[in-house]
């Protein structure tokens, strides 16, 4: 996956002709700079895009420990995968059996976390429409390093059934650093368990450095994201 990314980065800047925009989108008015009157009567100026987000970009976090400790941490990370409870597509319906008696992924240390802050595994469960991609990027950037992305279903790999759709992305690893793909439409719970098992192997081997990959090629990822998301109304790095 990594060298694949680098191959693609080499052929950047992308020479595909950008489709001309027929209309331009106004910035949503809650994002415009304004002065508000607080309940206690004082006037304050607000520029949401500046004030509400942290502007610092991601940095490469090298494991600052000795190998032993890093291995211990990797082992612990592999044993406690906290999935962000964000059903981005129809694949989410097979996550439910995964968490219930028949398959019971809790046995392998896989749990749901409802908030991105505490999750360390983002499962893109199926096709991503542009509207969802925006949210998925925000969720991913709010997660803490190290963090992993699993693409679930054929439609994350090459568009699958929706290869000619005007609203779904075709190749997820152009926009997020994917560690693992699980094929199928839709993948069976057994396939998911197998996939999570392989992900654990990757993490234990210290190969789960997607967050650092994201930080290294940050401009490239952002360029790709902005080419697709036409109304980019958030800062480049919004945690």
């Amino acid at each position: 996956m990594k060298d694949d990314i680098e191959k693609r980065i080499e052929r950047q800047p992308d020479d595909r002709s950008q489709r001309p925009a027929l209309r331009d989108i106004p910035v949503r008015e809650e994002l415009l700079p304004r002065t508000v009157k607080t309940p206690d009567g004082q006037e304050i100026k607000i520029d949401p895009l500046q004030d509400y987000f942290c502007q610092a970009g991601p940095t490469v976090q090298t494991p600052a420990y000795t190998k032993i400790i890093e291995d211990l941490f990797n082992w612990a990370r592999a044993e406690s995968l906290w999935i962000l409870g964000f059903g981005t597509g129809c694949g989410a319906i097979e996550m439910r059996p995964l968490m219930t008696p028949r398959f019971d992924a809790y046995r392998y240390g896989i749990q749901w976390r409802p908030t991105p802050r505490q999750a360390n595994l983002l499962v893109i469960s199926g096709y991503l429409s542009v509207k969802t991609l925006k949210r998925a990027i925000r969720a991913y950037e709010q997660m803490q390093n190290p963090k992993y992305v699993v693409g679930l279903g054929s439609c994350t790999i090459n568009g699958g059934m929706y290869w000619d759709s005007y609203n779904t992305i075709k190749c997820l690893d152009e926009y997020l650093p994917v560690d693992l793909y699980i094929t199928g439409c839709m993948p069976r719970p057994e396939a998911l368990l197998q996939g999570f098992d392989d992900l654990k192997k990757l993490i234990r081997a210290g190969k789960g450095e997607g967050a650092n990959r994201y930080a290294e090629n940050f401009e490239w990822y952002k360029a790709n994201q902005k080419r697709v998301i036409k109304d980019w109304d958030m800062p480049d790095y919004n945690w």
Binding site: L72, F73, S80, P101, D104, R107, R117, Q144, P146
Partner: protein, 300 residues
């Protein structure tokens, strides 16, 4: 007269209790999972999560109180534990208990929640804010019957020192407060349900409503601190209940058994019920638990 040997002894208690709490919470999750016909998490899962959260490389702060929130919470747990005798009559494990520690215990039960409220409020997440407002109102109403019960017990035994209360309950099961003052125990156990953050009183964390309440913004090391506290706090709370109402524990096995059973009580209720809305739970405590407490005081 303070003896320095107390300090390593208390730390030993702390160590035992932390590990016991880790395993016990995992075990309770497994029991809950069995009701759902699952096997549930491995018994060591809490350790994995703890190491993982300490091992995360980045963490974001929202200000000083954001740091201090988990610290306060942990202090609440540890303080509560250390100022209450864990093992009755044991030189090693009676910790820093002293006359009047009952009042201090009452204070520590509440302390963590307040610290948490301050910390979570600074994270600025609306879900945190809602969770705090719910949490404080519910904990307050749940504390009320407990306080009443404690006063009843204090009146009953004419002392504010937990060791003396435990001492008064020795010599047979019939001497336990459970039988000498059942109303106080009933009121206290109802409030115990409210303080364990399990259904029907887990509206503070309610994942389907305000994921997941106050700790929404907490991550990596902060979360790890709170997990440690999540292992200590219930045990410490249960120790207080055990000492006040269930005759304390003279040896570790008895301690483990009693703590397990008292904990199990809240779990059994928890798996079988949906959650109250916050105003419903407050009303429930005021209607059912508080009168019991009053009756307990009157009866004494």
């Amino acid at each position: 007269m303070f003896e320095w040997i107390m300090i390593p002894y208390s730390l030993l208690t702390l160590f035992i209790v932390i590990n016991y709490g880790m395993l016990l919470t995992a075990l309770m999750q497994k029991i809950g999972a069995r009701v759902g016909r699952r096997h549930g998490i491995p018994i060591w899962q809490n350790y994995f999560d703890l190491i993982k959260n300490f091992g995360l490389r980045t963490s974001i702060s929202h200000g000083t109180m954001f740091y201090l929130g988990p610290v306060f919470r942990l202090t609440g747990g540890i303080g509560l534990l250390l100022f209450v005798p864990t093992i009755y009559g044991s030189e090693m494990f009676s910790n820093l208990s002293f006359a009047g520690d009952l009042i201090l215990a009452l204070y520590f039960v509440f302390f963590g929640t307040l610290g948490m409220a301050l910390g979570a409020a600074e994270s600025g997440h609306p879900h945190s804010a809602i969770g705090i407002s719910r949490g404080l109102s519910q904990v307050t109403s749940a504390e009320l019957p407990f306080a009443l019960a404690v006063f009843a017990v204090a009146l009953q035994y004419q002392t504010l020192s937990i060791p003396e209360i435990v001492a008064a309950q020795q010599g047979g099961i019939e001497n336990w407060t459970l039988f000498t003052n059942p109303f106080a125990v009933a009121a206290a156990m109802l409030s115990f349900l409210g303080s364990m953050m399990r259904p029907p009183f887990d509206v503070v964390l309610a994942p389907q409503e305000i994921p997941i309440g106050p700790p929404t913004e907490y991550h990596s090391s902060y979360l790890a601190l709170m997990q440690t506290n999540r292992a200590i706090m219930p045990i410490a709370k249960i120790v207080v209940y055990m000492n006040l109402f269930f005759g304390g524990a003279a040896t570790w096995p008895v301690f483990f058994l009693k703590v397990f059973l008292i904990y199990l009580f809240s779990v059994f209720v928890g798996v079988a019920f949906p959650r109250f809305r916050v105003e419903q739970s407050v009303r429930w405590f005021l209607i059912w638990a508080v009168p019991l407490g009053v009756v307990a005081i009157v009866m004494v």
